[in-house]
Symmetry: none
Subunit: 143 residues, 2 copies
DNA sequence: TAGACTGTGGGGAAAAGTGGGGGATAAATA
DNA sequence: TATTTATCCCCCACTTTTCCCCACAGTCTA
């Protein structure tokens, strides 16, 4: 399971170090793709394949299904760690997520997310106040 | 069950001693994460896993679910006690909870909470007056 | 009063993250 | 076809952080 928050730098060559704690789970090869809030998702191969299977079961006659599949699949890239534990982020994804030098890598259960630091802080502070309400709404019964 | 209030120091390396009374319940390994009122939650592994199970049942296509999962999981870290009974607090959590040297560790039933001392005092005094009203709203019948 | 336990501080080794050089491969141009 | 240009990896070296251990002081107990 992916948990935690790490602040790493994207270097001039478009590389970023994957926190060592995550490498054991991810293995050497995995998938990165566009995420929903203008961040980048990082999935282990198994998990990615599982999601793809789900997507393929959606009827391609549905407009939304086509759009989401396109969004999700077109951004995807199979990547490998170099010997320093870094990955290359393809430039379309760097642009999509607006990554500058300072990035945040967070674990959210089944995947990692890579955010530009400013964007992440903004997102977090924007939903900080609502978090209490959200929590109340999510669980009807006692946890 | 966690009860009580302890005042401990966060040292320069970001470590804080867990009160010895709590160590028996927590064991050697447990989880700390972002709490809702800008404090830090400390959960035994079992309790944390239970919450995660609940979260995982929520679809990642739901916006609130993504936000809360991100909030909760990204703040989480699996920690272990060192031989002196201390844990390392990751710097993102120190920032989030605004911890300076003086901290308060309180037991709140199923979890511990770690607060900056000033923030804790302020929170307590601010809602002391309302406590009577708050209590009334909680239960309709007799406890 | 001696011993055990708890909380606090700090030193040092090991690991993790960062930046940059250089060679191989592939694409582009003359 | 030959030369140039760009891109991608791999490796090395430096810095920073993390982790583990030891030592000390205060408190409680026997």
């Amino acid at each position: 399971m992916f948990i935690g928050e790490f602040h790493h730098n994207l270097d001039e060559k478009g590389r970023i170090a994957i926190p060592s704690k995550y490498r054991e789970i991810l293995g050497d090869a995995f998938v990165i793709t566009r995420g929903i809030e203008h961040c980048i998702y990082v999935y282990p191969n198994d998990t990615f394949n599982h999601i793809v299977t789900k997507l393929e079961s959606l009827p391609f006659t549905k407009k939304d299904a086509r759009a989401f599949t396109r969004f999700f699949m077109s951004g995807a890239t199979a990547v490998e760690l170099d010997k320093q534990g870094r990955v290359n982020i393809p430039s379309p994804l760097i642009n999509y997520a607006n990554l500058s030098k300072k990035c945040v890598i967070v674990g959210t259960g089944d995947r990692l997310e890579i955010w530009d630091e400013d964007a992440f802080n903004e997102f977090m502070s924007s939903c900080n106040d609502e978090m209490s309400d959200i929590a109340e709404g999510l669980f009807e019964e006692k946890i």
